[in-house]
């Protein structure tokens, strides 16, 4: 949004000028995964994956929040969970 990215932690929200793909590259070794065009997700903070309409999945975070995993990124998720990334 407006060339800004937002980092959501347990209690705070940080704003950064870094691009999402830069963060993705930086954090890929830390189990962060791109799950949609606008979201990078920390897999270590996900409590469950649930089915959603429209060939998508939903990631339920430990905080109870839900994040949409779009179909395009499902293969990458499967690969990451198999330990390939």
């Amino acid at each position: 949004m407006d060339n800004k990215a937002f980092i959501y932690t347990k209690s705070k929200v940080y704003e950064t000028r870094q691009k999402l793909y830069e963060l993705e590259e930086m954090l890929k070794e830390k189990h962060f995964l791109r799950v949609s065009k606008s979201t990078l997700l920390n897999l270590m903070k996900v409590s469950a994956i649930k089915p959603a309409l429209n060939s998508r999945f939903t990631a339920v975070l430990q905080s109870g929040e839900q994040v949409v995993i779009t179909r395009k990124y499902v293969p990458a998720l499967k690969k990451a969970l198999k330990g390939d990334s």
Partner: protein
């Protein structure tokens, strides 16, 4: 959705449909014409009808991910097209009122369609459970 993924999903739907059409034919046959004898070529009917039903499902193909609303509208269009194809293919047997036959047929098609969607949803639930298990395994490392 890639063309390959789409074709795989259509093949899945085809096999679900063959099973469900066969079941529906058996149930409807028992109700309307329990004494009718079938020949071997009759066993091809569910396969042919399922193949004809899969063709209109191509309206749900998308390259760009649709919104939930667009998805639901496409599913409704798909069901209507399937109803039309099957009603065009199947003629009511003699001695059965046309309107009643098409009403029952329409209801049966809708039930088969919903059951196919339920089966695919259950498959997705299984997939989600497996992904969650793998996720928990990854988190425990």
């Amino acid at each position: 959705m890639t063309v390959k993924e789409f074709i795989i999903s259509r093949v899945q739907i085809f096999f679900f449909l063959v099973t469900l059409i066969l079941t529906a034919s058996a149930v409807m046959g028992l109700v309307y014409q329990p004494d009718m004898e079938l020949r071997y070529y009759h066993f091809f009917s569910p396969i042919l009808i399922a193949a004809c039903c899969v063709l209109p499902t191509c309206v749900t193909y998308y390259k760009k991910e649709p919104t939930v609303r667009q998805y639901i509208i496409r599913q409704i269009i798909e069901l209507i097209l399937i109803e039309l194809v099957v009603m065009f293919l199947i003629t009511p047997p003699e001695g059965i009122e046309k309107l009643l036959f098409y009403l029952v047929l329409g209801a049966v098609i809708a039930v088969i369609y919903i059951l196919t969607m339920v089966m695919m949803w259950l498959q997705k639930v299984q997939q989600s459970k497996k992904l969650t298990e793998q996720l928990h395994h990854l988190q425990s490392l």
